[in-house]
Symmetry: none
Subunit: 221 residues, 2 copies
DNA sequence: CCTCTTTGTATCAAAATTGTTTCAAAAAAT
DNA sequence: ATTTTTTGAAACAATTTTGATACAAAGAGG
């Protein structure tokens, strides 16, 4: 399980982030000032840090100097929407930044991108009793191996990486059938439905992989 | 909750705005001159600013110069109905303007449009114990998920985004059934009533979603 | 009260969307 | 080159959603 450190002094925002990241399958640690973050980083290992700029005691930029040698990706969270801050944030070594208030979906997307860039995406994904080893292309349900075709595999990975999130049809085509998005009419083909069907059958996901009528699908716990 | 800053020196008007925006679910801050507005903007983050042109100390145009780099949408409020002012307001970077005296409904509509344009609409809406996650198409009453059809969902979102406001029948058809507004007779169909009925039943809104006879409906707290 | 207008409800068929089967082309493996 | 596997198109079935119709109930105004 990937570990994310959230350093944000506004409790409601911090809580919101923690709640959503936990649900998305990350191990979260929330701290409310730069000093305790520095302490925590002494002894613990994190895969990603979400860092507010305005913090009590040690501010985000100062903490950044401390983090840089550790080679942990950082996404800045900033309340100030000024361009200056954006530039400063990125040049100080952050991987990305978000301006408050932001959409949770946006945050999750950024985290995904940054983790992938750092090769910190976990190679073994899980959903309930399903295990997906992305390095070796092995899928297990319980102890029995399930053989999936490449497209089925890709689709499953997308769903598990985005569990509890509704993936709209367009989005799924974008992610799994990028070659098709420029073709004429996606709505006239049953390709996605067909693969959903195959995943449901092979992995007995009838109740977990839900249809959201007129929207898409969601893998929910 | 979206934060709106109201900079208006005429106290009665300011109060009226604050009252109505608060009721509509916005977090309001009212200030009465340009200088304190500039101070406030130093440290706080807003999603939208309502700005009077004629202000003590620093006037609206001057303040606008200060706001522009922050990338916060501004709606000008002006007592002068002269064309000059209209042009100046828009070219100075405002998103929209309103001429006093204006209808509150008009103001709310403009705010909605501007916020949508800036992607600042909240993705999670609430009304009492009802939660609507517009990104994920999930509706909950308390902790139990309620499944709504697409039209029901749209209608509910419209009501929550316009809570405490009477939505006239025409307006509702305009917002949820835009494809029908060019057809002949809306009054001969029971479509809207039917969907109201379904929402009331599914979400137990009998007392909250009120019928305004000969007008429309209102979702009231 | 009675009448007219407006709103609420039940029923049901049409329309839209999703699920399933079959099968041939494309890709991969042998 | 041949066999096997994967993929997705086409046709069709099932399901869900939607709104028309018809009628009942409620409100407004005399």
């Amino acid at each position: 399980m990937l570990k994310i450190l959230i350093v944000e002094d506004e409790k409601p925002i911090s809580d919101l982030i923690v709640m959503n990241l936990t649900r998305a399958g990350y191990n979260c640690t929330a701290l409310y000032d730069g000093e305790s973050a520095a302490d925590m980083l002494e002894t613990n290992n994190f895969d990603l840090i979400l860092l507010d700029i305005m913090l009590p005691k040690i501010n985000g930029y100062e903490l950044m100097e401390y983090i840089r040698p550790m080679n942990i990706p950082v996404i800045f969270i900033t309340a100030k929407a000024s361009l200056d801050d954006r530039i400063k944030g990125l040049t100080s070594g952050a991987e990305d930044y978000l301006v408050k208030p932001f959409e949770i979906v946006e945050l999750l997307a950024r985290i995904n991108i940054v983790l992938r860039r750092y090769n910190k995406t976990e190679s073994v994904l899980t959903f309930k009793d399903i295990t997906v080893d992305t390095d070796n292309h092995i899928v297990k349900k319980g102890d029995t191996a399930i053989s999936l075709t490449p497209k089925e595999f890709e689709l499953l990975v997308v769903f598990i990486r985005n569990k509890n999130i509704t993936l709209f049809r367009d989005r799924l085509y974008e992610l799994v059938w990028p070659e098709l998005i420029y073709s004429d009419e996606l709505s006239e083909t049953r390709t996605l439905d067909l693969h959903i069907q195959r995943l449901r059958k092979k992995l007995a996901l009838k109740n977990d992989l839900k249809t959201i009528y007129n929207a898409g699908y969601r893998l929910a716990e």
